[in-house]
């Protein structure tokens, strides 16, 4: 390394290689990404947000919400799961015997301990998980064998992981989820909970506004700072509350004769939060959605 030129060339080559790898290649691979289709459906994913929610993303950006919240769910694995929904005409004791007698079937024989063990622990409540694991043939065999006996089962593919167990989503986040996010707000600190599916957990706009104005009025253990500057504290006109005024819980209400009215930004931010619902099954992140078939 005797001359400036050699240092320049070596540095140029090193940085240029990583530029090609981490800037150019992702642009080629993902830069032209389009909407995909939700599994077993003809619906497109993701959908463009509505106007208020699109503007709400900018309020989210401007207030630096990303400093404490992530919008990405991690997954550690996936399992095929079969659970018993209804026994039909059968009795629980007979059903247990029936299952035990079935364990000689070649597809099931390796899992007999697990399946019988699950049933031994069963206290009679429905639904109960019969098997949860990697092997899909167990699930299909059990479904086929139990159907003629009038027993109703539910076979599902479920994603697993801490984030999913916490109820922050039903599957991992994938690149397709962020197609319309500009700027993308992935976040890297979870001082507050993940917001990937906050719109599923708390779909009520009024709840979101109450939470923004006084977080501890709806989540007593919250450490979130209140965003009162997004709300206007004003006098009621002729003692009449405005229809837009926020309904607050006891202990957080404004002084008598006053009311709290959310500003446009607060309403947009709440609309954005409610729009966060990345929970559709996709090809790269499959799972069986829970259907309300009861």
């Amino acid at each position: 390394m005797k001359t400036g030129l050699s240092v320049f060339l070596v540095s140029f080559f090193a940085l240029g290689a990583s530029w090609l790898g981490f800037v150019y290649a992702p642009l080629q691979q993902l830069g032209g990404e389009k909407q995909t289709v939700i599994l077993q459906s003809t619906d497109n994913w993701p959908l463009q947000r509505t106007g208020e929610a699109t503007l709400g993303l900018q309020v989210y950006r401007a207030n630096g919400c990303v400093a404490c919240h992530t919008e990405q769910v991690r997954q550690s694995g996936a399992a095929n799961e079969i659970s018993l929904i209804s026994l039909g005409p059968n009795k629980a004791a007979d059903f247990k015997e029936f299952i035990k007698s079935m364990m000689i079937v070649p597809d099931l024989i390796n899992y007999s301990n697990t399946i019988v063990g699950n049933l031994e622990k069963w206290n009679g409540d429905l639904p109960v998980t019969l098997y949860s694991g990697d092997d899909n043939t167990v699930v299909s065999t059990l479904t086929d064998k139990l159907k003629p006996a009038g027993v109703k089962t539910d076979a599902r593919l479920v994603a697993s992981g801490t984030d999913i167990a916490r109820g922050w989503g039903t599957r991992q986040s994938v690149a397709a989820d962020y197609l319309y996010d500009e700027p993308i707000q992935l976040g890297n600190v979870r001082a507050g909970p993940d917001l990937t599916t906050v719109g599923v957990r708390e779909p009520d706009l009024n709840w979101q506004l109450q939470h923004l104005y006084a977080p501890r009025s709806v989540v007593p253990s919250s450490t979130m700072p209140p965003f009162r500057y997004l709300f206007e504290l004003r006098k009621k006109i002729n003692g009449q509350a405005s229809p837009e005024a926020l309904v607050l819980h006891e202990g957080f209400t404004p002084p008598a004769g006053m009311e709290v009215v959310p500003t446009t930004e607060a309403r947009q931010l709440a609309a954005y939060l409610v729009s966060l619902k990345a929970n559709a099954p996709l090809y790269e992140a499959p799972f069986t959605p829970v259907t309300a078939a009861k």
Partner: protein
């Protein structure tokens, strides 16, 4: 050569040529450091008393923390590092600074850019990309200022008397290219009006952040340390071969880190980063060996001056880099991602590693370019304790808190609130560290201000004397006439 050139006859002339540009860079940089620490304290208050800034938009955590981070990085670290770089290039070249007016103009442009950027963040006009929060107007100013300083630095390097390049040359010269390329790429793609779709924005952001926080800080900080460590130890740099090896491995492996394990992107991206992070252990170890061999058995007196700053900074580089790399381990990242751990490592890199190296360099350079001793040497020593103690008290509790929080977060039987509570006390302790650093930074600022005042007063006196002198001499013949 490192020791010879200080003895060369024109050392004071070289220092004098750096005076105005370096004062412009250092003065503003330390002022931004103080402001950044104040804003960081304000941000931390949200975790002591969440209601504190409920009615004040510009000081809520999201605004204040982003502004504080950028003030430390763009306000303090980069201009101060550029100033030290100019001085080192001039000293190594045994030539006065080339185009000295250019860095003065550039320093003012840079500080203007930082001012615009900080005001924009506080007023809610941040771009929303981590480490690129400054809007377009500020980014253009920063880039232009950087290029101007790079021209002056490269020209100074080009005029070097000894054509052989010293290891610091490689690191610092590469740093000039690195920032220009990474910063322009990130800004052109993300802030040009049509950012790429979805996660590509995040990938470019990670690439940029890694190249700035790991590679650029490493190049600049270690380049400066490789100049000062041998100088202060009174020995040559242990081995140029090792240094070259460290330089090459750092730029080839380090630049591929950056994509977090948990990122919702195609798996080849985080896998590549993990692999590169494991390989990045090599340059960090090599740098540790070079530094250790250089300072080992050298004369060492506990003066708490530049020497101690440099050693603490180099040690911090090794420590923070290992933790940074640890964050890419498949098992480590499960626990450490999304906790205060990553935040703590970044703060350690910024304040503990390059921040301390820069403070040491400023304390060393300042009396030389001003040709005047520091006004209160005792106070300067005290600032070492405040700064280093502050960094430790700031970073260590955050690291511990991050690990505790992560261990609770991965266990889905523990409620999310419990994980937050586990880190909260550590976070609150770390605030005292921020306060200590603020005191240390204020002392540094005071030193710069006093020396500047002395210099300006001296200029004023000479000017007055110059104005008075011809009057007296011209009046003398007048008297004769009358």
């Amino acid at each position: 050569m490192n020791n010879d050139e200080t003895k060369s006859f024109c050392a004071s002339g070289i220092d004098a040529s750096c005076r105005v540009p370096l004062l412009a860079l250092f003065g503003g940089a330390v002022l931004w450091l103080v402001l950044g620490l104040v804003l960081g304290l304000a941000a931390a208050m949200s975790f002591h008393k969440p209601d504190m800034f409920a009615n004040c938009a510009c000081l809520n955590y999201g605004h204040a923390q982003a502004a504080a981070n950028d003030l430390i990085l763009y306000g303090f670290v980069i201009p101060a590092a550029l100033g030290v770089m100019l001085w080192i290039f001039a000293r190594l070249s045994q030539a006065p600074l080339a185009l000295p007016i250019v860095p003065v103009v550039a320093a003012n442009l840079w500080h203007l850019g930082v001012l615009i950027g900080t005001a924009s963040i506080l007023m809610g006009d941040s771009t929303g990309y981590t480490w690129l929060e400054y809007p377009r107007a500020a980014a253009v100013l920063l880039f232009a200022a950087f290029m101007l300083i790079a021209v002056s630095a490269a020209a100074t390097m080009g005029f070097r008397a000894n054509r052989e390049m010293y290891p610091s040359h490689w690191f610092l010269f590469a740093a000039l290219l690195w920032f220009a390329w990474a910063y322009s790429t990130a800004n052109l793609f993300l802030l040009s009006g049509h950012p790429p779709r979805g996660v590509v924005q995040a990938i470019i952001g990670w690439w940029f952040a890694n190249n700035l926080l790991f590679v650029w800080l490493g190049l600049a900080g270690i380049g400066i340390a490789f100049y000062f460590l041998p100088k202060l130890a009174g020995k040559p740099l242990a081995s140029s071969g090792y240094a070259l090896f460290a330089f090459l491995t750092l730029i080839f492996f380090g630049t591929w880190c950056g994509i977090p394990r948990s990122a919702p992107v195609p798996a080849w991206l985080p896998s590549t980063s993990t692999f590169a992070a494991m390989l990045s252990v090599i340059p960090v170890l090599a740098i540790a060996i070079v530094a250790w061999k250089t300072v080992r058995r050298g004369p060492f007196s506990l003066t708490f001056g530049p020497c101690c700053f440099m050693r603490f900074g180099t040690l911090s580089f090794v420590g923070s880099s290992f933790l940074y790399i640890g964050g890419y381990c498949p098992h480590g990242s499960r626990v450490l991602d999304f906790t205060w751990f990553g935040f703590a490592v970044t703060q350690w890199q910024l304040l503990g590693f390059i921040g301390m190296i820069l403070c040491g360099a400023i304390y060393y350079i300042l009396p030389r370019i001003m040709e005047k001793e520091l006004p209160q040497p005792g106070l300067a020593k005290a600032s070492f304790f405040f700064l280093v103690g502050g960094v430790l008290l700031y970073v260590v509790p955050l690291l511990v808190g991050g690990v505790l929080q992560g261990l609770k977060l991965v266990d889905d039987q523990v409620a999310f609130e419990k994980a937050g509570e586990a880190a909260l006390m550590c976070f609150r302790i770390s605030t005292t560290g921020q306060a200590l650093m603020l005191v240390g930074a204020l002392i540094l600022l005071l030193n710069i201000l006093i020396l500047t005042m002395h210099w300006k007063l001296g200029l004023l006196k000479t000017a007055i004397a110059a104005v008075k002198a011809p009057l007296e001499s011209s009046s003398a013949p007048g008297e004769v006439k009358s």
